[in-house]
Structures are given as C-alpha cells and as structure tokens.
Amino acid sequence: MPQLEFLIKCGVYGLMGLGIIAAVGAVLLPNLFHAGLALAFVLVTIAGIFMSVGAEFLGMVQILLYVGGVMTLIIYTIMLTGRLGAKDVRAQNRQGIFAAIAAGFFVCWIGPLILKTGAWPQRESDSAPPLLSVEDLGMSLMTEYVFPFEVLGVLLFAVLIGAIVIARQDRPS
C-alpha cells in the first residue's frame, strides 16, 4: 500500500529531524541536565530508526542499555557533581567557531563521497533481503560469535572492578 509506505517514510524522516534537533540540544544546551535528557531523546529516535530498518532487537537493546543504563549513569553523575539550580557556569569554551568549521569541513568532505558512491554491495533487489530474527541473532551469538561474546564478558568484569576501585571512597581506617 503506497499510502502507508508514504506515511512510514514521513515518520522516519521526522524521527531523523527530531533526532538532529535533539542532538544539537545535547551539545549546546547550557544546563547539563537538559543536555542529558536531549541525549536520551536522540537515543530513543535512533532506536526508532533501528526498528524501521528491521533491527528490532538492536532497537530494544538500545533503549534498555542506553536509555535505561547509560543515561541513568550519566544523570546520576550530573546530580552527584552539580549543584541544585547552578545556572551561571559557562558551558562552552571559546573554540566554538573553530569547532563549527571543523565539523562543517568534515561533513563537506565525507558527505559528497557518500552520495557519489552507488556501489554499496547491494543485493539483487528482486528478492527482499531476509530480516534477521531474534533467534538468528541469539544463535549466532552463541555459536559463531561466541568468542567475542565471552571476551566481552571478561572485559565487562574487568571494567566493573576498575570502575568500582576508582570511584570508591576510602573510609579512613
């Protein structure tokens, strides 16, 4: 149904627009707490984009891990290191123009290259590429990708220990 497809398209473009606006907010808002929430919003829109391209599992993981986990950490830290209602601190340093030029240069450099490249290894378009189901992902995580998965486990364990040691407050003995 082309009409529905059109609606979905509008939705995806809308998500992208909102995502970019929120990203600008996350970077420029003077109040860090607001910036954190803007980031959370960007993360949700990206989860939406994941869903729209058929990566449902990743979309959910994105919300669960990023919005539920990382954002909670970030906001907790903001609350631990900030003061209630502190608003008069300058949020930006004086490199704004330089940074904007750098970013603009970056976009102008890679953007045209992306647009010109037609040769992404696209499959034959007559058969729709199969979507990966959660079962597929789970199976390959336990078979083909089991080694990196286990390494990731070791890594998270080590990092957990390290983060606790660093952040822990030593009690005077």
């Binding site: 490249t117 290894p121 990708y145 080694f147 990196p148 390494v151 080590a158 220990i161 390290g162």
Partner: protein
C-alpha cells in the same frame, strides 16, 4: 576450527584469565600484600611455559575467525606477557600505590596482558575494536589508580576523553569499510576494496582508522595525550603504556594495512611518510626542553614511534621486519629505562632530571644501565637499538625515500643531544647527598632481563631476525 577444539591451543590465555581472577580473590586471603604480586608473576610464568610447550608451526585460526594464531601472534604473545611481567616487577617496588587495592591492581594488569594478546591475534574488525577497547579501558583505570594523587586522576581523565574520541573516529572508519566491503574480515576485504568505485571513500575510512590506531601508538597529531598521561600515571603503568599498547598497535596496523589496504598502497604511503616525519620531529624537538624524566621519555617514545612508522611507510618485507624487530628492541630498552626511574624515584622521591645528578656515584649499577639504555635508544652499535635503526634505514633507503632518511638522521642527532644531557647530569654533576641507592631484587631481575635483551639482541640479532623473516608473508 571450532570453539571446543580451539580451547586446547588457548590454554595459556585461559591460565592467564583464571590466574587474574585468582589474584583478585587472593587479596582476601593474603595478609602480606606482596604475595599477591608474586602470585601474579607466577601466573605470567606458567602462561609463558604453556606458550613454549604449545607452540605450533603453521597458522591456526581459532574460534572461527576471531583468533589467528600465527607466528606473529606467537612472538607478541610472549612479548605482551614479558612486558606485563616486568610491569609487575616494577609495581612490587613502587611505593605510592595504595596497599588497599593490590588484588585489583594486579588482576587488572593480568587482564590487560590478555587484551594485548587479543590485539596481536585479531584479524576481524570486530575483534580489533574489542581488543583495542579492552586494553584502553583497563589502561584508563590503571592510569588513575593512585587514589589520592591529583595528577594521576587528571591523566586518567585526559586519556579517557582522548581515547574515546579517537576510537569513535576509528569506529566510523570501520563502519564505512564494512559498508564498502560487506564483511568484517580484514583478509577478505582487499578484493572487494580493489574494485571499489570510490577510492577516496576507502581512503577516508583508512584515515579514520589511523586516528584510532595512531592514538595507541602515539603518532602525531594524535600524541597530545601521551606526555600528560605518562607523567601522571603510576610509573609501572607508564612503563607498561609506553611499550605494550604501542608495540601491539603496530601489529594491528600491519595486519589492517596488509589485509585490507594493499590495493591502495600508493595512496597511503605518502600519508604515512609525512606523519612519520612529523611524529619524530615533534617528539624530539619538544623533548629537548623537558625537565621531568618521565616526560622526557614520553616525548622520546613519541619520536621512536616515528622511526617505527618509517618501516610501515615502505611496507616491503624488509620494512615490516624492521618494524617488528624495532618494536621488540624498543620494548626491552624502554622498559629498562623505567626500571632505573622507579629505582631512583623510590629513594629520591622525585622524577625531575636535576635530582638524577651524581647518580653514577650513588649507584653505579643504575647509572650504567641507564647509559646502556640511552645509547641503545640513540642507536649506537653494538646495542640492540642499532639493529632496529639499521633495518629501518635500510628499508627506507632501499625504496629510495631519501628525504625521510635524512630527516630521520637529523632527528637521531637531536635525540642524542637530550639523551646525553641526561647522561651528563648522571655522570658529571655532583650528587646532593651521597647515600647509596638500593636496588631491591625485583628490580634487579627486571634490570637483568632488559639489559640482557638490549645487549644480546645487539650482539647477536640473527635469531630474532630469522624468526621475524619466517613470519612473512602474513597469511
């Protein structure tokens, strides 16, 4: 090879991991905290013995494609364990480390050895990223391990921010590569890339991957973090950082370049040529004005990265051999320097060069070894550093990059200048006080290993060179 079959070849790493967890929990048992360090050393030794016992001749790819066990991996697996072993020896003596968290500290060092081994064996973009982050994340923590020290915390924050940004750039490059080739396996990429219609996008991806790896090997312009971090970190950790991630960073660079980017050889060679010249010049020139020994070695190690990059720039067989030999030699020499630094700062209580005055009279052993290490770094025969430099220059001149050779030679002169400045302080200036400097046994062992490496590899380099020759060509 399937997962279960692979496990038998993976025994050294399993010992390492189990040992790390054991060391972590041994903190609960041991009253004398030095015992934790000894058990960590024991883990390293057992792991080394297992590697010796299980060595294989032809390349194996373990766990599907995620762990390539070839001769390159064999060499750097041993190197990684040796580096961490020496860092543990240094930590046994280094007193500012709080006695509170020694179990965690040694466990993290062992974990980072595991990460280094993964780096040497990774041929898949996913594994490369995972291994690099493994080492980086643990290094961030280790750098900030001095609980009360402001410098340590600041160094840790800078390292983290710089490192995360660089790895984000590297990831962007990797994602472009994945999009262009449709695979993550470095070895399968070159065919897809050779037919790419848009070589400039491939080069963009390459440049961005360089940003991440350049951070690890402290290549200019991604070197800004290095001096601050090396100065602020606990000295044993600095010793580890200046050699471990750097040497393995070069291994990853070789794997990525030889796997994916050979079709674009002509495009990236000039880039690396220029970067190599900038890196060595920046390192050496700024090093001239340093007054802190850790900072001086930091800048010197940036310059050394520049020399090693010369070999990468040629990317002939001779060049790669030169890189590998240089990396090994450099590891011995630089670690040796840090042994001297730890021994001195334990007694003197500072890392300023002026406090090294008269070291020769207070401890002839330390001063003598320092002389040897600096001479080796400067590339004076018959020490090991000479072999590395000789090979690198040979590779460059053979390919006809004369400008690079001249710049490098000039740089060596500059480097010699500040090396000799330190040596002059050590030998010619009168000491402030005459107390002899003690050199406890862990440091003696470390000094013995590094000295032996520096001198023996210089006198009879053939074994190492032959082994390195047998590595090539990379599968």
């Amino acid at each position: 090879m399937t997962t279960v079959e692979s496990l038998s070849h993976f025994a050294p790493e399993i010992v390492l991991l189990v040992g790390a967890v054991g060391v972590l929990f041994s903190d609960l048992v041991f009253r004398d905290k030095r015992l934790i360090g000894y058990s960590a050393l024991g883990v390293i030794v057992v792991s080394l013995i297992l590697i010796k016992a299980l060595s294989v001749s032809e390349p194996l790819s373990l766990f599907g494609d995620f762990f390539l066990l070839d001769k390159l991996t064999q060499l750097f697996r041993v190197a990684a364990l040796a580096i961490v072993g020496i860092a543990i020896l240094l930590s046994l003596v280094y007193s500012p480390l709080s006695k509170l968290y020694m179990g965690e500290y040694y466990a993290l060092l062992l974990f980072s050895a595991f990460g280094l081994i993964l780096m040497s064996a990774a041929t898949n973009l996913l594994m490369i990223f995972l291994a690099i982050e493994f080492v980086s994340l643990i290094s961030y923590v280790l750098v900030g391990f001095l609980k009360a020290d402001k410098f340590s915390k600041e160094a840790s924050l800078k390292y983290l921010l710089f490192g995360s940004v660089c790895s984000a750039f590297m990831l962007y490059g990797m994602s472009l590569l994945y999009g262009l080739t449709g695979t993550l396996k470095v070895t399968e990429m070159s065919t897809a890339l050779a037919s790419a219609q848009q070589p400039s996008l491939v080069l963009t991806a390459l440049v961005m991957i360089f940003a991440g790896l350049g951070f690890k090997i402290s290549m200019a312009p991604f070197h800004m973090w290095a001096p601050d971090v090396y100065e602020g970190a606990p000295t044993p950790v600095t010793a580890f950082l200046t050699v471990g991630p750097k040497a393995l960073g070069f291994v990853v660079l070789i794997r990525v370049l030889s796997g994916a980017f050979t079709p674009f050889f002509d495009n990236w060679t000039p880039l690396i040529l220029v970067l190599s010249m900038i890196t060595m010049t920046v390192g050496n020139v700024i090093a001239l004005s340093q007054t802190n020994i850790k900072r001086l070695i930091a800048y010197s190690s940036i310059a050394q990265a520049g020399y090693i990059l010369m070999g990468i720039a040629t990317f002939t067989d001779l060049g790669i051999q030169a890189v590998l030999v240089y990396a090994v030699v450099y590891a011995f020499t630089n670690l040796g320097l840090f042994v001297v630094v730890v021994a001195t700062s334990e007694k003197v209580g500072s890392d300023e060069i002026k406090d090294y005055a008269g070291l020769a009279r207070r401890s002839p052993l330390l001063a003598g070894s320092m002389l040897v290490f600096f001479l080796s770094l400067a590339g004076i025969p018959p020490l090991a550093g000479f072999i590395g430099k000789y090979l690198v220059f040979a590779a460059v001149i053979k390919e006809g990059y004369y400008v690079l050779a001249v710049v490098a030679a000039l740089n060596s002169v500059v480097a010699a200048a500040y090396y000799f400045k330190v040596i002059k302080t050590v030998y010619l200036q009168p000491p402030r006080d005459e107390d002899a400097l003690p050199c406890p046994w862990p440091l003696r062992i470390a000094l013995g290993i590094t000295l032996a490496g520096t001198i023996l590899l210089g006198v009879m380099p053939n074994d190492l060179i032959e082994f390195v020759q047998s590595i090539l060509p990379l599968s």
